[in-house]
Symmetry: C2
């Protein structure tokens, strides 16, 4: 009896994610979304409920994608090499909507108003950090880095370096790849 939707929901969410990632929360109007998703208001609200609901889904998809890419890197090259390559990977994609991290952009934009989306972004950042910490811990068990470090502290610093790199990459006239190389090189000194 029912009628199929015209669009692939997954593809719609990916496009919304890229738009939100690039333009932020307030910088993205419903008109923008309607244009990119090729949906009229009625379809949009039937499919996603609200701008906020879609942003939340997009944010989750963003975080999930980042975690997956890191996991693949670990699978292919092991923890140390993965963490060394990850910074460059985060800023090299020319077709990416932005160099900066969507989680930090969301946090910075919405934190002051106590917006739920800021809390969600913060939680995702914490999730990433735990992923990093697990890798540092594993590297210690493998004897790749000195045992007298706190994995959580290493992860915290790595995350901070990564966020700084990706803000720097957003600037014009900055050789962010050089910074990425320095971060990677710093890991060898542990």
């Amino acid at each position: 009896m029912p009628r199929k939707p015209n669009h692939d929901r997954n593809e719609l969410i990916a496009r919304a994610r890229d738009l939100f990632w690039r333009q932020g929360w307030a910088g993205t109007s419903l008109k923008d979304l309607e244009a990119v998703l090729k949906m009229k208001p009625g379809s949009f609200y039937a499919a996603f409920g609200s701008k906020e609901a879609l942003f939340e889904i997009a944010l989750d998809k963003y975080a999930e994608g980042g975690a997956e890419r890191l996991a693949e890197l670990v699978q292919a090259h092991g923890p140390m090499e993965a963490l060394k390559r990850y910074p460059e990977l985060a800023i090299c994609r020319e077709d990416a909507p932005a160099k900066a991290c969507m989680l930090s952009k969301t946090l910075l934009e919405l934190q002051a108003h106590g917006h739920p989306l800021a809390k969600r972004a913060s939680a995702h950042l914490m999730g990433m950090e735990e992923q990093f910490a697990a890798l540092f811990a594993q590297m210690q068990r493998d004897g790749q880095i000195a045992a007298d470090h706190d994995p959580k502290s290493l992860a915290r610093r790595y995350q901070s370096d990564l966020l700084g790199l990706r803000v720097s990459a957003e600037r014009e006239g900055i050789d962010a790849h050089a910074i990425a190389r320095e971060i990677a090189e710093g890991l060898t000194r542990l």
Copy 2:
């Protein structure tokens, strides 16, 4: 013949800067500004011309303040100790509108739309970086750090670390002071 303004312009700009710093460009409405500055729309536009014009003035004041604070630190403790103390100083003030840097927040929020204020924030960041580079160069001349570094590269990395630190400081549950200490400690290894 004239009548004096009721308010101190400098104080008004400082209050506007703090509000913009905390809430960002789109997050700050004219209603918010009217409330904080205790001005009606007419007075506001007579005094500043537009929301954008005031943001620009506020941004300049922010950058100027940061440069002054660094200069004072250098005056009091010399370049090395100044750069060591600056990260902690940037995130320790409990009464500050935000931990994160207003320049990077502005850049991240407005860059995608090619907004003039993003370019201005970017220019200020570059100015800061040159200030850092000058200090690293001086430290080399003084023999405090090895001569085989490029001062501009050191400044670029220091700036990146600083931006990352200040994004991290915005997060809840993160000991940013620990990161600040690590950044300062890193300087001793040059």
